[in-house]
Symmetry: D3
Subunit: 142 residues, 6 copies
């Protein structure tokens, strides 16, 4: 049995968001989320890296065609989130705080349906160059 | 006479904005500004590079102390724009479209007052890694 | 009179090339161009930054629409050079050695015809992260 | 027993390649590989990251000397692939399509013989900043 | 049971160091550590990425507050190592060679005490853009 | 007359330094230079970009051979400063404070003698990603 290989495709989108928990009062929201709670929103250039793990198809030399992967990301993620206000314009965040963690899970759940179930999937999302997340993550308590 | 030298300091801020001309109807705004006209805003990680040109002080070996320059940028630019909605939260853009060009001119005008007049000043502002501006720019029609 | 401002758009293309002077013998070509003279070509991910200098249009807040600039670069440069062999597939280099310098001049000459003559133009081309060129360049013998 | 640690060394090479399956007709090759099938080749600046996993030698504080790792990569990979046409100049790809996936496996197989068997090895290869692969990859179906 | 997610925070510090084993003579130190053995030290801009793995808190949408993580890194790592000579100024390296490997383990051991034990922790440390380490690392001999 | 073109070569070196003015007392040095005055030194990964401006040689398509420029930088700058303590090991800084500004001027003065006088020269030196200098700089008081 040959080992698996991972392929990665990087895309980006620009979006506004605001961190807010509607079950908390304003003071608690301000205390927990700080500047990220600004009621008029702020925004980010999100960098998205989609990792797909599988075996190499000997006919093509591909795990999957990066053009196809790019098109899937474009159609299902970029079209939905780019130049949008995540809180106001995106159904996924009507009742979900658009933290980097939650955005990554939402993106994973969307893409999981679009990509062959024989392939594993992992999402890395950069909110800034200094803050980023990866989902799912293997526990490393070894 | 010794030649001048330039020193650069890079900072960043995250902000929401929307491109819109209130003198135009919605269709024109949409046609000209496209996705950037989205009424609920989108956002960016703005990277700001401030360039200061002068002579080296022989006592310190500095043109100016980068810590001082960083503090000036922090106090006058980052405090004002970071985690804000440029259109809603920032007086400078009440009647000025917050394009990268206009943001750079606004930042230049603010910093020009805070930096020694013997020193020249230039602003570079990255809206994304692929779109950026520089002000002022020397005409290169030579 | 208000100062001018520069706007920049970054694009990229991947191409093969080979450095070779047909008026020289093989030994001279090998001595001057080294590994870059390999007869079967090698290649690069070229990063292209197009700088346009002008005044801000007060209606739009733009020097020029970056989407329009991107489309011009796409149509006239990327379509022509991306995933091509510069020596074999591109008329511009039939009789011109595709060094980074010459590629930059060729790109400048193509884009100069497509961009409003009131706007100044400058090209920066990265052959690798460590080797790049800029055209035209102001002499700095001051 | 102390945990293992990974050390990484980044190198690069510039090469031309073409994606092509000789068992298919031209139309199929064009349909599957698109611009990457251009008969005259195109090229890339490949960034290669070699990851070596082991225990720290208490005498040196090293897993392995990065200078030695760099020399191994230089001798066995860069000398072989840099400024070459992968399809034409490299025996490994005479009968193997030089996709990023296949190049990574070839590099892994070459380096695996040169590096102490007590050390684990993984290859990351960037074809562009937006397309890259990693081999071997742990299945993350957890 | 929901999958875990990783969050990352990037910080940096600038430090001097020298690689040296006091149990070896000068010639052996020079032979093993080369230029890194220079008695007057050299230095690096260290980039530190701290990875924390856990479950998303449904109240906040956070694994942990990146501001809190940043403050912990600032207080326990940056204050201790930034603008210091690791060999001379830092107790941790009085009897430990400050290789990238050993610095990463030291940072891990310090941060492990400061971060909730329900969260897994991993350190990535860049000594240069081309040399970096990750601790702990999962053996990939699969 | 054809316009000039600039070519750039990027190299790097790792060095320790300390900012200190021997004519000042310790308190003044500490007040002015802060952490950079640490008596045991700290260090940086310096990134150096050398810009050379001239006309394209029609025989080669080069302004100058980047391999030759790289060799000049290697021999005269990297050999002298890499893995060194600028204050202790480098004659140029025996009586000159090794600020980024002064290092850039020293590098310029060294390289100016090694590069054809028909070619203009400019140095950009990154002390960190956020602090950098450029010499000489054209005054932009226009």
């Amino acid at each position: 049995m040959s080992a698996k290989i991972a392929v990665f495709r990087k895309e980006h989108f620009n979006a506004a968001h605001r961190l807010h928990n509607p079950h908390w009062d304003d003071a608690t929201n301000k205390a927990i989320f700080g500047k990220c709670n600004n009621p008029h929103y702020h925004g980010h250039n999100y960098e998205l890296i989609v990792k797909v793990i599988g075996e190499i198809n000997p006919e093509t030399g591909y795990v999957m065609d990066m053009k196809v992967l790019s098109d899937i990301i474009q159609q299902h993620i970029i079209e939905r989130f780019d130049h949008r206000n995540l809180n106001e314009d995106c159904a996924a965040f009507k009742n979900l705080n658009p933290t980097a963690e939650n955005i990554a899970v939402v993106i994973y759940d969307i893409l999981r349906k679009e990509i062959n179930q024989n392939l594993d999937l992992q999402i890395r999302l950069y909110e800034t160059e200094r803050n980023f997340v990866e989902y799912p993550a293997l526990s490393q308590n070894f």
